[in-house]
Amino acid sequence: MQTEPVVTIFERSVEGRRAAQLPELDVPARPLDELIPGAMLRAEAPRLPEVSEPEIVRHYNRISRRNFDLDTGFYPLGSCTMKHNPKLNERVAALPGHARLHPLTPPERVQGALEVMWLLQRALAEICGLPHVSLQPSAGAHGELAGLLLTRAYHADRGESRHKVLTPDTAHGTNPATVTMAGYEVVKVASDARGGIDVDDLRAKADDDVACLMLTNPNTLGLFDERIEEIAEIVHGTGATLYYDGANLNAVMGISRPGDMGFDIVHVNLHKSFSQPHGGGGPGAGPIAVSDRIEPFLPRPQVVRREGSNGGAPLFDLDHDRPRSIGRMRGFQGNFGVFVRSLAYILSLGGDGLREASETAVLNANYLLARMREGRAGKYLPVAFDRTCKHEFVLSGSRAKKELGVKTLDIAKRLLDHGYHPPTVYFPLLVDEALMVEPTETEARETLDAFAAAIEEILAEAEQDPEVARNAPYTTPVRRLDEVGATKRPVVRQPL
């Protein structure tokens, strides 16, 4: 990777250089202050860089080489489902009929785009086992917020006002953050000895002030909650809704459906299970699927298919006339470019292929887990809950910390020198020194073997000299960074 000293695009600026050549002025020129009052005119141009096209290209290509990426190496980042991003999807998303389509073009002239959305809605409904889908939410966290606002609207419609939302102590951070944003109070539910929901604790806390239980299944430990039917019964018994965080859907596509488990509202991360590239942190999309009783409150507009008159072709339309809707979650119709890629992925795999993807994801995870039970990994990094896992598993680095003097963070940083992106670390919170490993279905067995060998080597090295891991990494563009200093004296833009 690129290790030269850092120069920003602003520091490459040289007065007089430029890349863009704009069209000539082809209308009569008028003094600008005749068009816009002088007080509203900009006095000084913003100090954007002055750079030529080749300089821009070289700058961004060089800094790109300071990134680790999925196309180059193994990325077993738990809960993020870093599966291969098919290149075909980029090609079809870039077709001008998709890419240059204005969102306010009248429905009769965007029939292809609305059909893409409708087909994706139907596919997600089938995969989730819930009949109605809104594609609008822009990300998983946005889907969660939509889900809680739907819950609020549902209860309000019944004349009820509820104040609490239950989340397990293994939940993603977005769950409690969303609860607060949606105006509810978080109540934590404990986990039991098998890593599932502590059903007694749930029963004690599930009263009629509870609006919703937010759950991931399989959960963030990578374990399927075997008592899901009982959990659903308890939650529904109080009149609350059951919300499914779809972060881990990649484990169960075509095998078990959230709707069949009793969930009322599900969000799906299209950038996880449905192969949208993560982009260094977006874009993604977080469509929601819901049951009949939640449907009237879905965001507007909704894509609908109207049967053609006299046997004519069906017409796809945007339905704005939804009087009980919670309203819009965002502008326009959602992250359409993501929908195109995800639909292409679903068409590529088909129903059987999706099931096979989940089966292979679980096979890969259990195989890597088996490898982690061997040798030094088995000794120093025991699995937190020793069961068959689903698409991911969680190891505890507490013994490595105690017996070798290397923390989970050190192991993660040493993995960088071996050319791997580390697993998710220090999450979930209930596992001490957690390492959360999600290999995904698209990795070959040799890759998993090589990763297991790297872990073994790092632990063997730590037995000899823990300082090596403690000071890692060594081979990256920069080494450990001063994050505390960055927070104390934030420099969040370049002084010019």
């Binding site: 990426d69 991003n85 105006g183 059987d352 001063d482």
Partner: protein
């Protein structure tokens, strides 16, 4: 075996043996029978790559995109040219395929581009701090509402009726959750009514929301509106159309607390409405309440310059229920396109773009308003978008124009019933004088034809 997996039959057997399981099915035995799907998914069988391409291309062909017609549609998203370097750079796997930069040592490319993005946004808006990208403009407005409620402890929002309808609606959607009232400030001749704003203000108002230029293209008089809005201690939040900031004074210079906006016009495709990004800049005092990721500059153990995600104690993965937002995307790839685009335009190009749009818009406005049956909806100053009234049914006129290959603009009636005869027309650098003249011909003929059909004497 799908084409995106690598496990052969032999791999499977050996892997299952290592696991100690008899079959793949055994790995799912802990799923209770009652919640297992006992049939195949009801979806079509998978297709070869070429067949998927053809299917998706056939769908794309059923859309009338800006490639197919001369479009004057705007209303929040605009047909600007996206330079080839944007595609080339954002398709690099090093930017396209990583996740959020949680491991900064191997994410310096992403983190540096975030820092550059924040610098560029701060330059445009005139406010000192910027976060990395948010989803898009309307939900950024809603996030600003959440910030304002937290910062002031108040729960009433005043929203200009000239703020984008999607933003007003998203704010109301969010506010129903976190608890705030949203009240509209009416229009006076295409601009926010200053007197109405002044009389609606009280000590409960957490924030005043304006748009610059507003939804009707009007350059709002921030010199008058800003001090009025801040009189009772409310925050002032302004949504801006970024490319107009080449000519317009940055809202940050008027004492605005938050300036935010839609990133699509900055190097992002139309994509039928997304993905794009929202930008969010603020006064220094709000930095610890900002939504979204923020990159900061620091050094490594060897003293080398580097970048990290900073102020993470605002964020959900650290603060959980006490986070200032639940967002955990930065629309990174879209924001990267934004900063590449701004580098491409550069300091002079950005101003030239604003000036070119202002001149062509003035020409177009005059040209169209001179047509029979067409008049101005307001006479306020504009930069790149303006509103007309048609003395003919707008929907029918638009259909006639579309038949001539011209998308004449956005019909205002759905969002503004009081302007059922309204048409919003947007100009970008891609709309030449020739295009504008063509629009004038087609629109004039369409209005005339509709008036003839309705029996209006010529």
């Amino acid at each position: 075996m799908t084409r995106y997996t690598s496990a052969t039959e032999r791999d499977r057997e050996q892997m299952l043996a290592a696991i100690g399981a008899g079959s793949v099915g055994a790995l799912f035995e802990d799923i209770p029978a009652g919640v297992r799907l006992d049939r195949p998914l009801d979806l079509p069988a998978g297709m070869p790559e070429a067949a998927v391409y053809e299917r998706m291309a056939a769908l794309a062909a059923r859309n009338a995109s800006a490639e197919d017609e001369i479009t004057f549609l705007g209303a929040g998203m605009y047909d600007h040219y996206v330079p080839a370097i944007v595609d080339s750079i954002i398709q690099r796997s090093e930017f396209l395929t990583p996740y959020t930069p949680y491991q900064p040592e191997i994410s310096q490319g992403t983190l540096q581009s975030m820092f550059e993005f924040q610098t560029a946004m701060s330059e445009l808006t005139g406010l000192p701090v910027a976060s990395a990208g948010l989803y898009e403009m309307p939900s950024s407005v809603a996030s600003a509402g959440y910030l304002a409620k937290g910062a002031t402890g108040r729960d009433r929002f005043l929203v200009s009726r000239a703020l984008h309808p999607h933003a007003r609606e998203a704010l109301a959607t969010y506010a129903a959750g976190f608890g705030a009232e949203v009240e509209e400030i009416p229009l006076a001749d295409g601009a926010t009514d200053l007197a109405a704003l002044e009389s609606a203000l009280d000590e409960r108002v957490a924030a005043v929301f304006l748009q610059q230029p507003n939804f009707f293209g009007t350059v709002e008089d921030l010199a008058a509106l800003a001090p009025a809005a801040k009189r009772t201690g409310a925050l002032l939040i302004v949504a801006v159309d970024a490319p107009t900031l080449g000519v317009l004074r940055p809202p940050g210079e008027f004492g605005t607390d938050v300036v935010l906006g839609e990133g699509q016009p900055l190097g992002n495709r139309l994509d039928f409405g997304g993905p794009s990004f929202g930008f969010f800049t603020a006064r220094e005092e709000h930095i610890r309440r900002m939504p979204g990721r923020i990159a900061g500059e620091t050094t490594d153990v060897d003293g080398r310059r580097g970048f990290v995600l900073t102020l993470q104690t605002r964020e959900q993965h650290i603060r959980r229920e006490k986070a200032t937002s639940n967002i955990c995307t930065s629309q990174q790839l879209n924001a990267l396109a934004g900063v590449i685009y701004l580098s491409w335009l550069g300091r002079r190009g950005f101003v030239e773009l604003g000036e070119l749009m202002a001149q062509r818009t003035a020409y177009a406005r005059e040209r169209l308003a001179a047509l029979d049956g067409v008049s101005l909806l307001h006479e306020q100053p504009v930069v790149r978008e303006f509103a007309l009234r048609l003395d003919a049914p707008v929907g029918a006129v638009l259909r006639r124009c579309a038949e001539q290959g011209v998308n004449a603009g956005y019909a205002l009636g759905r969002d503004y019933p009081e302007f059922a005869d309204g048409l919003l027309v947007a100009i970008t650098e891609r709309r030449s004088r020739g295009h504008i003249d063509r629009l004038a011909d087609v629109l004039g003929a369409a209005v005339a034809a509709e008036r003839t059909a309705a029996g209006v004497p010529a």
